[in-house]
Symmetry: none
Amino acid sequence: MTVELICVGTELLLGNIVNTNAAFISEKCAMLGLSMYYQSVVGDNAGRLGHLLHMAKERSDVIILSGGLGPTQDDLTKETAAEAMGKELVEDARAREEIEACMAKRGHAITENNWKQAMVPQGCKVLYNPNGTAPGIIMEDGDTRMILLPGPPNELIPMFEEQVYPYLRSLQPEIICSKMIKLCGIGESAAETKILDLINGQQNPTVAPYAKTGEVHLRITAKAEDEKAAFSLIAPVEEELKRRFGDCVYTDDPLVTLEQAVARLLEEHRLTVATAESCTGGLLAGRLVNVPGISGSLKEGYITYSNEAKEKLLGVSHGTLTAYGAVSPQTAAEMAKGGAEAAGADICISVTGIAGPGGGTEEKPVGLVYTGCYCKGNVYTEKNLYSGSRSKIREYAVANALTLLRKVILDEVKG
Amino acid sequence: MTVELICVGTELLLGNIVNTNAAFISEKCAMLGLSMYYQSVVGDNAGRLGHLLHMAKERSDVIILSGGLGPTQDDLTKETAAEAMGKELVEDARAREEIEACMAKRGHAITENNWKQAMVPQGCKVLYNPNGTAPGIIMEDGDTRMILLPGPPNELIPMFEEQVYPYLRSLQPEIICSKMIKLCGIGESAAETKILDLINGQQNPTVAPYAKTGEVHLRITAKAEDEKAAFSLIAPVEEELKRRFGDCVYTDDPLVTLEQAVARLLEEHRLTVATAESCTGGLLAGRLVNVPGISGSLKEGYITYSNEAKEKLLGVSHGTLTAYGAVSPQTAAEMAKGGAEAAGADICISVTGIAGPGGGTEEKPVGLVYTGCYCKGNVYTEKNLYSGSRSKIREYAVANALTLLRKVILDEVKG
């Protein structure tokens, strides 16, 4: 069964607000196994909306509209949709009462145009709205179903959860389940090349790669009559992906981030860590602190953007800085070693590089970043060259520092 | 002139990500005075995308597409768009070189599918992409213009700003000029209330407020036959806004960020600063290091997420921590004072709070954040209560710490 989403609102066309309703409704429909092929945004214009609705009726089984149910003249979603479905508008007694009650509660005087919101298409199912004055509507015309929802998320979300989701679920014989596998330390193309044979000619389940900064996420999606059947379709593919990517897989939980995976390893193995950052200037520690309760593992963090600070806080030798420069494997190594000693931590991860836009040379171009990791007496360093803006280079440097940190911990615990 | 936006990506139809590109592009098109009547989202499906493109060609002058330019098999926006515009794909030498260079820099092996990204429609304008491997494309067919952009915002945004915006601007007969005034230290509704009289019944120029995290941006937009005329319409409104918001105005340059404004003040007045962060865990220093060349002003940064680190690195007294707790004005003050002394800096800005989701109490709820600022003997503290996710609370805390830092410097230099 196919579903189509039409969001009505000039504020979306002007970019005044971000369309979070679309993401919310799309995710719910995907969970229900409804296939969404089209999303549209139109302004409060009867002609364009009407034209779109007629097209939608021809290509989709369920059409969900959000927005344009307000009391004002330019709110015409309901009128236009009713016309497209060949329905007359009639007053709904309960809707009228609820509007009266709601306005009274808000202490607002009722104006004539408020009653406009009590008019509903004949024979429709009215979705009463405890959070506002605009009721939602479900109407059917032959095999086509049209669902009208108010635009404000605080009205739309509960109405969808409580009244629309169960309705759509009842229409759906099949459901969709998906599993996410997250990788670090491998690029998108390299990852895809490893699984081209799985992607080509895939039917059910399907595998789709998503590129993130320094990560690749693989989503396995299956359709079946129930969850159990869906996950039994997913299981062998998941196992195969984990076999192929090995240690690059840092989680199979969609809610777990790379920093959380690292934090779990630290906690699990009772390892403490410190950070010593130059060009990333705190962003690496900032990501670790995304994890609630990291204080047990994160001893201290040092932001040593200047050479002076590298010497003073991390004990990087003046000789190293003058001989090799601040952006060198030697400095990265001394930063990591010195940071661990200063913090009394088992591990210290360091980053030093040239984030640009200035400061690059032929020998040391913008984007050159050295990462160092000290762990119980051993020091590892890594060299990377990133392209892009200053912020992009720093984002990549942070993602790769977390990846190196994870790798070092895994090697350490493997012995 | 009308513009239409088509975002390509199954991840949008599945609700995996929120379509922030649409809001960004729509806002820019509105600034240019382009009328947008339709936005659509389709999946990576040649048939449906092709059908939509043919419709778009009939109803819109400019068609902007985002997404589906990646190296993978399911990325087919370019192929489908070229066909709709009747263009052959040919290899672009420079695009090929840049992909080679980019992959080499990232240390990724080049796989066959990477070369797919070097193919471009014959006779098109190639928008080279310093932030990724997918070049953007501008192609024309009669009066129809089609613009293809990569999906990742960190690639799309700079490409649009630097290459697409000037192109679209050149198509517009009427000049639209705008001026941005950026405010900190005032909320959106408070800011809007101050200028309701200007917003109501405005024609040309118009004033539009945009709420950002911890900031409000006011855009003044004027239409005229040339820049000079447009800016002479803008000037009096700009002056009035600056008069009304006074010190809350941190810049009237759209490219200057709050951290840049702060960095300029520090440099201008030869003041050095240090950071002492608990719940923000380095994000505050990270924002200061967004500014190239901050090393002259930023002495050191301390990440002291644990109480132990607060005592050891910042000299916060054990008594203060036990008597008032880590999240208290007393601790924020001692962190700032101790941080400035340890770093030998004129100023130190400190942040300590409860970012959640756990750890809140009735007395100290999640979202409670204290900011401290030491400056040449004086210590200021500020209390804020934010709502939202852990990351949202930390973002607000960072923005407000920068705002307090700016305020303290302004007071200091005023004497």
